[in-house]
Symmetry: C2
Subunit: 268 residues, 2 copies
């Protein structure tokens, strides 16, 4: 079965999209089949993977309205990596879902079907079974889109920029995950916290990293993603950093992150 990971943090600009794109590419490079769900109306993950707006179709917005998965998936340039692109219509979803039943479960209902066999045994027929990993890129908010991702997911991966404001929001985020776990998705857990844009030239990065490790211990990945300009240049070419400049420090860090994620999965 597939492993579904929501990449979420309501703090803006912490590296959610960059982590979704490059971690997915690194996992695909190890031979895994990886699907990226872009549910951010900004559509940065779709752009960063080279999916031009005219190729996006109804995209992930369609999934919330009962469209079949195979009708919204788009191929990327990367073997083994599929994308359900974003759509600007996602921005209106929060309001649209208000009047509906179980608005938090729309994504889950679209992708994880419950069927019953003759002896009334409940089977979860997972439409996502062709994919080893599903990464969901979330917008910078704890609204209905991110809630849907966390109700769908097995775990939440939290990119955390090594800056003071980003640290402040972490407690709110962990509390929100706990609430969603209790109310909607009992098996939801924290996959881990990934430190991003670490700048060894300034103390602030060190202080934040030490602070987070002392509070969250093992939850924090050993792999730290350095601030690296090649990573921020890659999206303007519509390519992941791993394809734009495989040997740069940023790409190598994402390769290590994929390795660490696979190792942690085995031992859990």
């Amino acid at each position: 079965a597939s492993r579904i990971i929501a990449i979420a943090n309501q703090k803006g600009g912490v590296g959610k999209t960059t982590t979704a794109i490059n971690l997915a590419t690194a996992l695909a490079a190890t031979g895994k089949k990886v699907l990226i769900l872009d549910i951010d109306p900004q559509g940065n993950a779709s752009t960063g993977l080279g999916i031009q707006p005219k190729r996006r179709g109804i995209g992930s917005y369609g999934l919330f309205h009962g469209e079949a998965l195979n009708r919204v998936i788009v191929e990327s340039d990367i073997p083994g990596l599929g994308v359900v692109p974003s759509s600007p219509d996602l921005a209106g979803l929060e309001i649209e879902l208000i009047e509906t039943e179980d608005p938090q479960f729309r994504l889950r209902k679209a992708l994880i079907e419950k069927t019953f066999s003759e002896n009334n045994q409940e089977n979860t027929n997972n439409i996502l079974s062709n994919w080893d990993y599903v990464l969901v890129d979330c917008p910078p908010a704890l609204g209905m889109l991110t809630v849907n991702a966390m109700v769908l997911a097995d775990a939440v991966l939290v990119p955390l920029q090594c800056e003071f404001f980003a640290l402040e929001g972490l407690t709110q985020l962990l509390a929100a995950v706990e609430k969603i776990k209790i109310a909607f998705n009992p098996k939801l857990k924290i996959q881990g916290v990934v430190l991003t844009m670490f700048d060894k030239r300034n103390n602030l990065s060190d202080q934040v990293a030490q602070d987070v490790r002392s509070h969250l211990g093992d939850l924090v990945y050993d792999t730290v993603i350095p601030r690296n300009v090649r990573v921020s240049e890659a999206p303007s070419f519509g390519r992941p950093a791993l394809l734009y400049d495989f040997h740069c420090a940023g790409s190598q860090a994402y390769v290590h992150l994929a390795g660490e994620l696979l190792r942690r999965e085995k031992t859990n």
Copy 2:
């Protein structure tokens, strides 16, 4: 009368809060009375100005529910600078306002009262008249909170990080401002675009800056805010960069920005 400016951009982490805090401080330093409205549930502007959570009270959330302005304002350490702090309750406002009448006007109704004199002349009795400038720090979304800010405001100031993903969202943002202007606030205009986190060490910053200036011309402020670690250190001490390290490049840039804003106001 006071000048109300919404500091908005749905792209996350572009410097909205940092601009709100430091531009407000620089304007206050010139003798203006400045009020910051923090309507981001994350509350980074409140934290960056040293307003501890226990001092925040019902904050800006109260304004949306009819609380009087003078009951939610908190003094800051900076002479002439007042703050209406954030509250975590803001996160639920989008849903709360759905069933109400004119949800987009809640903030405007709370702060700009219409009264009628004997001869039935409509007067705008502006509750904000004690303040020369009101800066509204918005969350990274184009939801009901940011819409309320744009319906209240005279103009929108757009901080734009000199990165590719930030550029991508600019068209969406300008289109949203235009929609709000037509539907709710005819006098709304773009105050300007401020380039932030400009890093002279990399070409990407230059490319983005040139791209934006060629498209938007005069709308882009001459003052560019450089990437400067002292700016990102200041919030951990609960102080604006101008108080933490007045002579650093970041603080000086915000002083220049305040000067340019005042000059532009005069000529408009």
